[in-house]
Symmetry: C2
Subunit: 437 residues, 2 copies
Amino acid sequence: MRLTAYFMPTLKETPAEAQIVSHRLMLRAGMIRQASAGIYSWLPLGFRVLKRIEQIVREEQDRAGSLEMLMPTIQSADLWKKSGRYDDYGKEMLRILDRHDREMLYGPTNEELITDIFRDGARSYRDVPKMMYHIQWKFRDEVRPRFGVMRGREFLMKDGYSFDLDYAGAKRSYNKMFVSYLRTFARMGLKAIPMAAETGPIGGDLSHEFIILASTGESAVYCDRRFLDFDVLDRDLDYESDLEPIVAEWTKLYAATDDKHDPAKCPVPPGELLEARGIEVGHIFYFGTKYSAPLGAVVTTPDGEQIPVHSGSYGIGVSRLVGAIIEASHDDAGIIWPDPVAPYHVGLINLKVDDANCTRICDDVYGKLKAAGIDVLYDDRDERPGAKFADMDLIGLPWQLIIGPRGLAAGKVELKRRATGERHELSLDSALSKLIG
Amino acid sequence: MRLTAYFMPTLKETPAEAQIVSHRLMLRAGMIRQASAGIYSWLPLGFRVLKRIEQIVREEQDRAGSLEMLMPTIQSADLWKKSGRYDDYGKEMLRILDRHDREMLYGPTNEELITDIFRDGARSYRDVPKMMYHIQWKFRDEVRPRFGVMRGREFLMKDGYSFDLDYAGAKRSYNKMFVSYLRTFARMGLKAIPMAAETGPIGGDLSHEFIILASTGESAVYCDRRFLDFDVLDRDLDYESDLEPIVAEWTKLYAATDDKHDPAKCPVPPGELLEARGIEVGHIFYFGTKYSAPLGAVVTTPDGEQIPVHSGSYGIGVSRLVGAIIEASHDDAGIIWPDPVAPYHVGLINLKVDDANCTRICDDVYGKLKAAGIDVLYDDRDERPGAKFADMDLIGLPWQLIIGPRGLAAGKVELKRRATGERHELSLDSALSKLIG
């Protein structure tokens, strides 16, 4: 993409309303604009990151055997009255009267609706186990929305649901999601640590939060240092195998959020305890028959008995992750995207667009990188080099390829790795083969 | 995908509430379920079709040079008051009070918001031309929602917007969208005919509807028969070239919807007039400075003057297209998906799952097709052949590969093309090479 044809309105000043670094950087990088309090438009650059994250979540859900579908944003209040949550939810739920004065709401989550869909379509034990998910916008009418997309009112979430015959089956589904979450966050370049959690308004008996570590994180967390050495899980993991050993390995070490941590009772010696700050990016629950019983989602067992199914729900904050990744990966100059979620892989900087030879070579390089399937953002604007360097550092693409007349005269271009700041002067061919690989 | 692991609750009976064929078939095929009046959940099979259509729309928008971004579903009423449309829209607009009693709404379209985003990010003539689009859920609170996804309340739409310095520039953008729409619908296997249209509540001076022909279409249309022989536009079309000749070719022939057609004035001789029924699937508008002027979306000209930009908007009904394609392509047995939008390419039918040899061969074929990158839905259920045939015809995948013990004993399998009903008995290897190509 040529920057002259793009829409990336970067800001030099730090917007006064942004209290945390991810919010500041997303506004400054032209990734988002506030539409109203806690509600954002995703400009082209931000949208690309959102889609990258969404796609990783999707691939790992599919791999774990969950079926993608899509529920609407607007729901009828009826099912929520049956489950008893219509009154529980309070003012965070955006309630709406339609033109016929029917009570509707903008879904903050979907346990009721998916349970009703399963009830309608499933009959017997042969219809379980089943996992389904969707990636859809949700709304929570926060009193004081803040922190940008980290705590917006309209936010994109992957929420998945499992249906099983009994606890043993439900635990197998829970384990699949537990393991797929570890893979999902690792693929984004994040270290996510599962921590036993309260179940809150979703309800249920078993629950884990997935917390990523970031020095600017929203809350204090305490965990065993050995978590840092845990390996990323294999891509070819068989989700139909027994996953309990993996789950056991990841849950046997101490890990607690601030509200659960008690220094007096902590079993980890101080030298081995990691005190850090964290951001919640996923949350999984097992809640048994909490929704299936009142909503009548029953199946027939092999013995002919009718029983309500055992369920769990599994959330990942997709739009929140955009902010969370920035909180975990930035420096004073701007964002540092992990390669798998970067909006473009290479930023190509033409230092002097009015130099015909330099521009001819840059155009040629741009064509070659695109032809090789590399996502390139090409700064072909008529701007000072300083402004181009600052913008490219700010938006945080993994690689910068810097081409100017002086270097070309010496047969050199410059390749910079954003994460480390390392710069190498090398021939154009070497730079291209390094990027194309 | 194995049908035993899928969630595709087909129905034998025709649901009483469905008045039109696409609605009936989508419910019967387990593609959608109604969540509340005019609001649908997309089950896995329907979701796949929706995504296929969305992806074709996206690719053709990108090819035409429009930038993808995403605006929120919930908007503040403020901008709509500035443009004057807050009062114009009436009860079709879903109006919401948030917890602080601020007036919000569920966006039925996005001219105001995108104009405000452009205003905030653009400064000068160098920032135009610019086209941006998003694919987002919209809401229109219809009095009597009906016809399934063809006229739902919550619906998925691609809406794009162009920003130019003057009418000449805006007409170039309009032409790009005009041509990209022809390509978009042709890629879905549809014949879409552009018809001059009223501009309605969007406003403006120049507008075309894109209507596809379907015997069960919602309205009568009249057009020159020669449209039927028009060629699909080339994939490598240069959108920066002069597109006026293409647009002129497609607009010089007579084409009119029922409300505009006057038999007394129609210039086409009766023998050359095609009287058909049609479904609107796209609509494009040029409206000049209608939104840029009140919302202050101005840019500086090369002469230093500040002028409001000239804009157009361009819509495609993405969820509506799912229904429209079915209206245009079905028979008594069910849906007939055009290949490019089919949820799966091949339906593999195992006629006897309790025959070990038959199942071993079916499993093997399933693995080979998947390994070759073919999307396969594998009916591995323990069901009668008749039920399997009926379901496979109903869901309308382009190819059916039917394998049973009797055929295998003779070294044969059966390959059926859904659209024509042609069946061929051939060797397994021949069938595989025909499908894998």
